[in-house]
């Protein structure tokens, strides 16, 4: 007579391709070389996204959208609910680390040139995911309904309104009216907890499926060096070797999140008052700071053109270039490869300088 475990196993085998998945996992290999530690950043971003889903679901148990209730409900979470401060602080910290990790992942993929054929669509889905994460950050920022988030949303929704023709309809769509009101909060809440998560699920699924399909890219600069290694030293098994290392990194990240949340819990600020003046030194989240600072520095008129408009166009162009980067990397008609890394360095430097400048500027 078969043991109960093997009976269940047999039942499952006939209905679920567990063995096929196991075989696939055992076959999957991850290349090993001087830069292979960069392969962990994507997994780390995914982990932080998981933390966001979990803590976000927990916050939904007590959060109430609405201009009369949102601030009070977050205050309730922070002061009355057991460990509510911890859950919310982890959500905020993890959000910030997630954006940072996504940028680090982007630049590592860029400098290792992993976006080239056949991985163009993996890159495009990744850039779309980054835009989506920034959207998560923006929409989530308003939810506590405090002064900072109120004005950040006001300014943030004013920026696309500068675009000719589609600007005004965009503003009305984002705000749910002329001004930032409870309707805006309802919309941002809807984007943050329903629409964006649905899109994110699809995009992350696509992104991961493509990575599974094509495997990890070997940086072209290391191709020769890597080929010269003994075959058994070229790769490690994805399962368990790579997974266990990734899990260790996640474990450390979770500890770090807990420590950050406990030592530097996220503040709540003052409840938003639509009739109060904007407080001095108001700034967006750090990941919007470089754009914010740029828009502050551009003169009102540049060569007869509206300065604000010019800045928005420039960042729009950068976004478009980032999205289409794999298709711009080509040897003919002229070699763009060295240019891409160089320009990426310049842009990274620009982001860093402007972020620091925006941080210290009054």
């Amino acid at each position: 007579m078969a043991s109960p475990a093997s009976t269940i196993r047999k039942w499952l085998d006939e209905r679920f391709p567990l063995d096929d998945i196991k075989a696939l996992a055992e076959k999957k290999k991850v290349p090993v070389h001087r830069y292979s530690h960069w392969y962990f950043l994507g997994g780390m971003t995914l982990f932080l996204f998981g933390v966001q889903v979990l803590t976000g679901a927990l916050l939904l148990l007590y959060y109430r959208p609405g201009a009369d209730e949102a601030f009070e409900s977050v205050q309730f979470i922070m002061t009355q609910v057991h460990f509510g401060w911890l859950i919310r602080s982890v959500h905020s910290w993890s959000a910030n680390l997630l954006i940072f990790m996504a940028f680090a992942h982007l630049f590592s993929v860029l400098f290792l040139r992993s976006y080239r054929k056949p991985r163009e669509l993996t890159w495009v889905s990744g850039i779309l995911l980054l835009f989506l994460m920034l959207g998560f950050g923006f929409s989530g920022y308003l939810l506590p309904w405090n002064t900072l988030s109120y004005f950040a949303t006001k300014v943030g929704t004013e920026i696309p309104a500068q675009i000719p023709v589609i600007g005004r309809p965009t503003l009305l769509f984002l705000r749910g009216g002329e001004d930032i009101t409870g309707s805006t909060l309802t919309r941002m809440f809807g984007f943050h907890v329903a629409i964006f998560p649905a899109i994110a699920t699809l995009l992350i699924g696509l992104h991961l499926a493509l990575i599974q399909w094509f495997g990890m890219s070997i940086p072209p600069a290391l191709e020769v060096e890597w080929q010269s290694l003994a075959p058994e030293k070229r790769e490690v098994r994805f399962f368990p070797n790579f997974v266990l290392r990734e899990l260790m990194a996640w474990y450390v990240a979770l500890g770090l999140l807990g420590a950050l949340a406990a030592l530097f819990p996220w503040g709540l600020g003052v409840k938003a008052d639509p009739f109060a003046s904007a407080p001095a030194g108001i700034k967006p989240e750090w990941y919007f700071l470089f754009m914010f600072q740029t828009l502050k520095l551009i003169p009102a008129k540049v060569l007869g053109m509206d300065g604000e408009m010019l800045g928005i166009l420039a960042f729009g162009l950068v976004g478009a270039v980032a999205l289409l980067l794999p298709f711009l990397d080509r040897a003919k008609p002229f070699n763009t490869r060295r240019w891409i890394s160089g320009l990426a360095c310049v842009f990274l430097g620009y982001m860093a300088v402007m972020t620091v400048y925006g941080w210290v500027a009054k």
């Binding site: 927990l58 057991h82 460990f83 859950i87």
Partner: protein, 159 residues
């Protein structure tokens, strides 16, 4: 040096296995403890905090002019409804209005001179005793005090 390594290769099993087990137990315990420390805050978070109770405070249930004999009204008692009844004889009775069966809000039936729960046909008398139907326990009775025009209700003080 040489002798030490040969001693190691001669008998690695009995020496190394307990050591490996020790390390495994150490790591395993640490892992389980840290997972528990991640789960504990989440489980505590899931339990909603208790809202502040009314305690011994009195609640203004009604004005004397609001009720006639053989009528009743529901009022807010903290976070829950209470039922204030003026009996046919003119006495005031205050009870919890939450049915002890499945938590519906009960009502006064002037035709029966009893308290009735519409959900499952439970009956209570005017002292709150469950007299027919599914309710398992009596309704909690409160103290009523008439001060001028105000009818004040508070929890019964423990004797």
């Amino acid at each position: 040096m040489h002798s030490a390594s040969s001693a190691n290769t001669a008998g690695p099993e009995p020496r190394n296995l307990p050591r490996r087990r020790f390390v495994n137990i150490l790591l395993g315990t640490g892992l389980v403890a840290s997972v528990a420390s991640f789960l504990y805050p989440i489980l505590r978070y899931l339990v909603p905090p208790k809202l502040p109770d009314l305690g011994g405070d009195a609640v203004l249930a009604a004005k004397t002019s609001e009720l006639k004999p053989n009528t009743a009204k529901t009022f807010r008692f903290g976070t829950r409804p209470g039922l204030l009844v003026q009996t046919a004889a003119g006495e005031y009775r205050a009870l919890s209005a939450t049915c002890t069966h499945l938590g519906c809000t009960v009502q006064y039936r002037p035709d029966l001179r009893e308290i009735w729960c519409a959900c499952h046909n439970g009956m209570y008398d005017l002292n709150g005793r469950n007299i027919s139907g599914p309710p398992p326990r009596p309704l909690e009775a409160f103290d009523v005090q008439v001060r001028g025009d105000d009818i004040l209700v508070r929890r019964k003080q423990e004797a």
